[in-house]
Symmetry: C2
Subunit: 415 residues, 2 copies
């Protein structure tokens, strides 16, 4: 079974909104063995919508449409869908019930605009949207399924998870299985050289892709066939062959994040963590606390952006700062040890670097970053030479810091 | 002049990468008055690439292609482009110079894979890529311009900004101008009701769109025509008409962010800031420090995730926590005042809330959030009822906190 995704909205074509919906939908469809052939973004334009629907219906059996259903006047998707299916607009009590319920629960009055959202093409099945005012709509025509959903991500996700994916799942036959291994600490081409012999021996129905992002390269293995059990075994065999070549760089799999992996390790060991952040400015604390339940192992952070705060709240010695500067092994060591003591935790991470764009010197150019991890067995510091871009430097420093902590925790478990 | 964007890569179609490149490119093209008609994501598949190129060339005069040019084996874009233009692959010294330079500057050896990246179709103009190993390629055929670029965002952006946009700019005639006003503190449908009369009086060549994102609704006005000066005046008139109706909710324009707006205010007033964060977990500090130069006004943060840290590092009284709980007006007030004192700053923000998914009680359900702003003229606290989703609650709490600070700073300037 193949699918296409159509996202509607001028905001995508003028670049004011990034299309995150499509990636999410594509991932979910893939998990059910539904292959996404194409993702198309078009404007709120009647003729373009009609053409795109016609073209997609010739390539795919399932067409998922998002966007163009909000309460305001820039939305013409619904009437165009009505025209495409040769239907007429009718008032839907089911859809209106959701609108009324939502506004009641928020203690708000229903506006005239919102009442209009309960109008739908007569030929569709209304998929109730309990999180918003625009209903989902399910159409079938010439053996092709069309589903229209609002563009607000969490409304679309609830509709997909609760109603649409279960309905589609039963109709799929082919299987696509993926295993994605997450590596850190090695660039794409070095990794490729290192695992070339293994890659060349993969069966032809297993495909390898390199997916780089700042600080991380993901290796995705995709296997196609009909027998899920067999594909799963073959993928496992492929992964087993990869581990001796690149295992040291692999920190997780699939949707794992370093902050989750580190959180899980801390929880398993019953240990606690704090951070002392200069150049990362709270980003490591943010990553860690974005994980639900992190309060079980994370006590907090001092973001010590000013040097006086490094002294006052973390106990860094004025002499250390004067002799070695804020971006130095000595300073991050004292920051990490100060945080470990003040927060009464087992592990503390500290960062100090020149994030840029200004602040670089010949000895410490932009990108120079020191990271320390203080642990029950002592403190380790390491220097990283990152890039020239502030945002990416913050990201990469955070990933490097979490990775250092992970490796130290694993080493210490072995002792 | 019209354009289409084609992004190539299985990673988009299986949803492991979000296509941020297209939004960025679309925005830049729009600024030069080039209308993007469609964005299409397809897989690394020869036939699909050929078909998509053919279709796009019938609708648009400029086709920008990203992705499918990495050093590893999952890339077939380049040979398919070569086939599409009926050309042959040749070794490019220009492209190889970039590869060699990049590896030399990093002190790394050039691998065989990387040498292969200097092979290009003979008919193309090589656009040097100083940030990576895959060159940009410029093709022209039957009055249509095709540009192929690597998919790594910062490599693509450097190629676009440095080479491709300047070349395209001179060829465009029509103008599209946008003004985007950023609102906070009011939902989409309430805003729409409030400004309906103004919206109905807009000239027909000025279009309004509502672009909601967590905590913020953006209002985009787009005017099309040929006379840039005239369009600019008309947009200004439209904005002037909007201000009396919704001015109180507008915090900025265009790409402004609240953290930038707040940073600018602090800089103008010569004031300093610190944060004391519980539920936002360092996210406010991260937003503020993502702005270059923020060390001029931001001294740091205490992320006090554990209650003992609220006491120890911020001076919150044990009695306050015992009597009122961590999520209370009393606690955030003491957190903000403690931070203001300890960091010796003019303003301090504090947050404490139930981010979720667990931790809610009947009196304080998930989403309950208290925010305080301590200032030279005293401390203000406010309660917010956010939603049920941890990630969005963190985002919305941060936006609400920055917005509170902004309003308080503006009020105090008036005094």
């Amino acid at each position: 079974m193949t699918a296409e995704i159509i996202t509607i909205g001028d905001e995508l074509l003028i670049g004011q909104v990034v299309d995150t919906n499509s990636a999410w939908m594509a991932e979910k469809l893939n998990e059910f063995g539904i292959l996404v052939r194409q993702i198309t973004s078009i404007s709120d334009d009647r003729e373009h919508i009609l053409n795109t629907l016609r073209e997609a219906s010739q390539r795919a059996e399932v067409i998922l449409i998002t966007g163009g259903l909000g309460p305001t006047k820039d939305d013409i998707t619904k009437t165009t869908l009505c025209e495409y299916f040769g239907s007429t607009m009718v008032f839907s009590e089911t859809a209106y019930e959701d609108v009324r319920h939502l506004f009641r629960s928020r203690g708000l009055p229903v506006t005239g605009l919102n009442r209009g959202q309960a109008m739908v093409p007569e030929c569709c099945t209304v998929i109730p949207n309990h999180n918003g005012t625009a209903p989902g709509m399910w159409f079938e025509k010439n053996s092709v399924i069309y589903v229209s959903m609002p563009g607000v991500p969490f409304e679309m996700k609830a509709l997909m998870t609760g109603e649409i994916l279960p309905r589609l799942e039963s109709k799929s036959e082919n299987a696509i299985m993926h295993r994605t291994l997450l590596t850190e600490g090695i660039g794409e081409s070095f990794l490729a050289d290192r695992i070339e012999s293994w890659e060349n021996q993969l069966p032809s129905h297993i495909k390898l892709a390199y997916l780089p992002q700042p600080g991380i390269v993901r290796l995705r293995l995709s296997a196609r066939g009909t027998d899920k059990k067999k594909l799963g075994d073959e993928l496992q065999k492929a992964v087993d062959g990869l581990l001796p070549l690149a295992g040291e760089f692999i920190f997780g799999e699939g949707d794992d994040t370093l902050e989750e992996v580190v959180g899980k390790l801390l929880r398993e060991k019953g240990c606690t963590l704090a951070t002392a952040e200069s150049c990362t400015g709270g980003y490591i604390a943010h990553l860690i606390t974005s994980i639900a339940g992190s309060s079980d192992y994370f006590k907090g952070s001092v973001v010590a952006y000013a040097n006086e705060i490094k002294e006052k709240l973390l106990g860094v010695k004025p002499r250390t700062l004067a002799q070695h500067g804020a971006v130095s092994s000595e300073t991050v060591k004292e920051m990490a040890e100060g945080a470990r003591e003040r927060f009464t935790v087992d592990y503390a991470i500290a960062t100090s670097g020149v994030a840029g764009p200004s602040g670089g010197t010949p000895e410490k150019p932009v990108g120079t970053t020191w990271i320390a991890v203080a642990s029950p067995l002592g403190t380790v510091t390491r220097k990283f030479i990152l890039g020239e871009h502030r945002g990416r430097n913050i990201q990469r420093a955070a990933i490097s810091a979490l990775s250092m902590l992970r490796k130290i925790m694993i080493e210490q478990s072995r002792k």
